[in-house]
């Protein structure tokens, strides 16, 4: 080994603590990148494989009753590979072991597996057989939630007739990867199930012989989705078609897409923060080393080493540390990616999940890691390169200090000499102090940002479950009914309060933009299910006009006062002009709201309801459930408590893992930054501190100087970090603004508190590590050498 390389390794060994701290910060950035990209790749590849192998449709359309030949006609539209009509129906399921009824979506399937689109994977049991109309396949989540065994019998209400169904198999489908019930915000495998039944059985039950009420299409690669949708809508309109839509609006697929977008954002937002901090650490650490090595650098040059050779020497140090960081980051990222992918396997229902770390992911992450490290170290290394041999041979003069501003303001007499040393040191190196403050503030910010996720989701849950949806359950009916039905619900046992609503599917158009939504008609004086905006204000739709959620308004580029063309997709399918009377900011969904009577007028119908929100007496809930299971017209039932439980469980399992990762990283950053800056000021001032020790200052007193400096920097950084954290949270709010949900920009005071406490903890930890070194200061060696 050349002497220069020996020096390199000794230098590295000498700063091993700092090197490790930097490597860990780099590792944090690399790991997040590898985690996000590998999970993204895995999810993407899995979805692609599942969709292709099982021929997941591209277009979906619902109708009332269309004859089979319409499907053939649609199949002939240019760009359509295949069109398949089927029967899809929402029903109420009665499971013996569960008090409350569950909701189900029945999907027809050609017995014997002749289905070409949206095929299923049978996980257990077997496929449906010809001639056994009561056989059923259930989706895996539902089977697991109820512990259903092959041969078990469940009951369903079909077209007002109760029917016993025998479970013959458990299945998964690309269509229901994220099986979410209508109106739900998270999948609830216990209360919502998918049932596949033979086409014949459903044709008979719903009087759809030779007809279908649901159509799915596969398209050619070259097909234009928008054009196909226009054609399909035109052809299905006479049969009660409610508008075709693509995968982007297919709820399950949209959720998977949204999750992938989040991973993508993660890969863009988080790693740069880490790498920026690593670059900054390199800058100060390498600058310090070069400062201390001035004479040696001069000597090397005097001996004839070239500028490049000298610069390369320090760059190698940077690359070694970066390399270590990259290796740690790869390992951690792969492990985290694996863990996150595992979460997806449980969260989404894929029959398989490919986990793969693409070599290109590793290459990209290594490249950005090295790039940022080199950028960070470059200015310091350039300084080494430009040191002239002669200059390097003369020791630096004692640094020129000044009295600090604070002292000039007349504070001097309150300050001890050590306090002055601290202040003047900070003011002497304002840039370094600023950088350190920035670094510490960043770690506070990342902590605040991680905790913000919690707060935002909790806030969302709060608003949704405690401000907006305050009913105990929501009932929906097979058919829209007159308000008279209300009294029937009132008469059910245990019902304390009833509020009815109307929901009507419609297409909203403004200019060339259009969106398909369900317009919700609510009565002005709702107490249970209310429209509440992000600021907690209850909004009542005025007697005329439509209220849009902000996201919907954004998609339509609509403003208050604009006139929308509303084409209703049910009943008489009228087209009307409706003014936008208000825009409200909501966290969940793409809402459009009207006064119920106004909506009914728009539909050209009388006093109609689609369902009711009810408040119940929990003591006699079981009796109510029993009665409900017997109500033939009941189409759906959503129990708030169940949804709340599912939502909380999802937060617990899904979010906690992610937040745990972030918190760990933020803590590592805090330690990395604080430890490094403490080490640097220790090494710069070793001589000074040793002098103090010689003069008879105790370790504690000398330590106070270092610790005091850290404390000042930390305390300046804390509020800045909190502000920056709020800024980062705002950035995330913008990035996570999807059709499905928005995050509230809400950070609890306690989160600021935790972030601040954790950073103070990191400061104390780093201070402790560095102060131990004060005890080891070699007094004699320091005094013997000149600076």
């Amino acid at each position: 080994m050349t002497p220069l390389n020996k020096k390199l390794y000794r230098d590295l060994w000498h700063i091993r603590g700092q090197a490790l701290a930097i490597a860990v910060v780099i590792a944090g950035g690399i790991a997040t990148l590898v985690m996000a990209l590998s999970a993204l790749d895995s999810l993407q590849e899995t979805r692609r494989a599942f969709s292709e192998q099982y021929r997941f449709a591209h277009v979906f359309a619902h109708a009332k009753r269309a004859p089979d030949w319409v499907a053939r006609e649609i199949g002939a539209i240019p760009g359509v590979l295949r069109a398949e009509g089927r029967i899809v129906q929402d029903i109420i399921i009665d499971i013996a072991e569960m008090q409350e009824p569950a909701r189900g979506r029945v999907v027809s399937r050609a017995a014997g597996g002749q289905t070409h689109l949206n095929d299923i994977v049978i996980r257990r049991g077997r496929d449906l057989r010809h001639g056994y109309p009561n056989e059923v396949l259930v989706n895996e989540a539902f089977a697991q939630a109820h512990g259903l065994q092959l041969g078990d019998v469940i009951h369903g209400n079909f077209n007002q007739r109760r029917r016993a169904l025998k479970v013959v198999g458990v299945a998964l489908s690309p269509e229901f990867v994220y099986a979410i019930g209508p109106g739900d915000i998270v999948p609830d495998g216990r209360h919502f199930g998918i049932l596949w039944m033979s086409r014949e059985a459903l044709e008979a039950a719903y009087d759809l012989k030779g007809a279908f009420n649901n159509l799915t299409l596969r398209l050619t690669r070259a097909a234009s989705l928008a054009e196909v949708i226009v054609q399909v809508d035109r052809l299905l309109a006479p049969y009660g078609g409610v508008g075709a839509y693509g995968r982007a609006d297919q709820l399950s697929d949209a959720f998977v897409t949204s999750e992938m977008e989040q991973l993508d954002h993660l890969a863009v937002v988080i790693p740069p923060v880490f790498l920026l901090i690593a670059a900054f650490l390199f800058n100060v650490v390498i600058a310090r080393i070069i400062q201390a090595d001035r004479e040696q650098i001069g000597l090397l040059k005097a001996f004839g080493y070239s500028n490049i050779a000298v610069g390369w020497q320090y760059l190698k140090l940077v690359l070694l540390i970066t390399g270590l960081g990259i290796l740690i980051g790869w390992a951690m990222g792969a492990w985290m990616g694996y863990a996150v992918t595992g979460l997806y396997r449980d969260f989404f229902r894929f029959p398989f999940l490919y986990f793969q770390v693409d070599p290109s992911t590793l290459a990209i992450s290594a490249f950005v890691g090295i790039f940022s490290a080199v950028i960070g170290a470059l200015s310091a290394v350039r300084r080494a390169v430009t040191i002239a041999p002669a200059v390097a041979m003369t020791p630096p003069m004692p640094s020129a200090y000044r009295t600090s501003l604070l002292e000039n303001l007349g504070l001097a007499r309150f300050l001890s000499q050590p306090a002055r040393m601290i202040l003047r040191y900070l003011f002497r190196w304002p840039l370094r102090a600023t950088l350190t403050i920035t670094g510490i503030a960043f770690s506070v910010a990342i902590l605040v940002m991680s905790l913000f996720f919690f707060d935002a989701v909790n806030k969302m849950m709060d608003i949704h479950f405690f401000e907006t949806e305050r009913q105990d359950m929501t009932l929906t009916f097979v058919d829209v009914r007159t308000d008279a039905a209300r009294s029937n619900i009132d008469d059910l046992p245990g019902v304390l309060m009833v509020e009815t609503f109307r929901i009507a599917r419609a297409k909203l158009r403004l200019g060339h933009r259009q969106e398909r939504v369900g317009i919700i008609g609510i009565d002005g004086d709702m107490e249970l299910s209310r429209l509440v905006d992000v600021d907690g204000r209850v909004v009542t739709p005025p007697p005329e006009g439509i209220v849009l959620s902000e996201k919907l308004a954004e998609l339509l580029v609509a403003r208050k006062g604009d006139i929308l063309t509303v084409s209703t997709l049910e009943g008489r399918r009228l087209v009307r002009q409706v003014p936008v009377v208000r825009i409200v900011r909501l966290y969940i969904g793409l809402g459009a709201y009207m006064d119920r009577r106004a909506l009914n007028r728009l539909m050209g119908e009388g006093d109609i309801i689609s369902g009711a929100h009810v408040l119940t007496d929990s003591k006699i809930e079981p009796t109510l459930y029993t009665s409900l299971k017997g109500v033939p017209a009941l189409l759906g039932l959503a129990v708030r408590r169940a949804a709340l439980n599912v939502f909380s469980a999802m937060i617990r399992e899904h979010l906690h893992t992610m937040i745990f990762f972030y918190l760990t990283f933020a803590a590592l950053i805090a330690v990395g930054v604080i430890y490094n800056s403490a080490r640097i000021s220790l090494s710069e001032r070793a001589r000074e501190l040793a002098s103090l020790r010689v003069l008879g200052f105790t370790r504690r007193e000398v330590g106070t100087i270092l610790a005091g400096e850290l404390a000042i920097l930390t305390f300046v950084a804390l509020p800045l970090g909190c502000i920056a954290g709020y800024g980062l949270a705002g950035l995330l709010v913008n990035l996570f603004d999807t059709k499905l949900y928005r995050l509230p920009l809400y950070i609890a005071d306690s989160s600021y508190g935790y972030a601040v406490l954790m950073v103070i903890g990191a400061t104390i930890g780093s201070a402790w590590l560095v102060l131990r070194r004060v005890a080891q200061l070699d007094l004699i060696a320091v005094m013997k050498t000149r600076e």
Partner: protein
């Protein structure tokens, strides 16, 4: 060298007494013997000059007296107290209360002015001079509010002397205090040491390579190869001002 303590024993009490002091630096294979058994007594108020070739153990000896270093074997007594029995905290206390140091490289705190550098010590001492008095003693009353970067080498060293004597130490330990200075500047520093020891009755130990300086000592101790090679008693010590080199 044997029994060196009988010279000059007189009636004065020893400030320091060392018994069989050794210091070994253990290396891989070859140990370095910095001190090989030093027995010496130092008396109240006397000025001692240590001479000897490079590597003969002078600094090691001085550092042990000052409580900066521990001997490998042997004992050091400061008055009644055995230094070698003290732990690190007690040694810090000891340095703080009794010892003043002056080193070849001045070791001022660059972020403090001359006055503040002295105040650093007077703030923690029991019965100190004021920083102004101490600086006047070394002739720097005009430069009190200058930072080290604004002072010459000799001036910086005089601040270091002022800082050492300000707490009225019992002993002033100086390791090549003039090593980095020219003759005239060096003498001004020696005068400062001499003045302090005269005014405050401080015992002073000065290491130097400059045999001329020996003239200002009461006794001159010659070190060689980790041992005391000889002790010369100056019948009449000269004032620093009259020395030159």
């Amino acid at each position: 060298m044997g029994d060196v303590q009988k010279d000059n024993a007189g009636s004065r009490a020893p400030v320091f007494r060392t018994v069989g002091l050794t210091k070994v630096y253990r290396g891989d294979g070859n140990d370095v013997w910095a001190l090989r058994g030093v027995d010496l007594a130092l008396y109240e108020g006397e000025t001692l000059v240590l001479l000897g070739p490079s590597g003969s153990g002078k600094s090691t000896f001085l550092n042990i007296l000052g409580g900066l270093d521990h001997p490998s074997s042997g004992q050091v007594f400061f008055r009644r107290q055995e230094l070698t029995a003290l732990d690190d905290n007690a040694l810090t206390r000891y340095r703080r209360d009794h010892i003043g140091f002056v080193f070849q490289f001045y070791n001022l705190i660059p972020s403090l002015t001359a006055r503040e550098n002295v105040a650093l010590v007077t703030e923690i001492a029991a019965n100190p001079l004021s920083p102004e008095e101490a600086l006047a003693l070394v002739g720097l009353e005009e430069r009190m509010d200058h930072f080290p970067a604004q002072l010459s080498g000799g001036e910086q060293q005089r601040v270091a002397v002022a800082r050492s004597v300000a707490k009225r130490p019992d002993v002033l330990l100086c390791d090549e205090p003039t090593g980095a200075l020219d003759s005239a500047t060096g003498i001004s520093v020696l005068e400062a040491i001499e003045g302090a020891s005269r005014e405050l009755g401080t015992t002073a130990v000065i290491i130097t390579h400059n045999a001329g300086i020996a003239a200002m000592a009461d006794r001159v101790i010659a070190f060689a190869d980790g041992r005391i090679a000889g002790i010369t008693v100056n019948a009449e010590k000269l004032p620093a001002r009259t020395i030159s080199w």
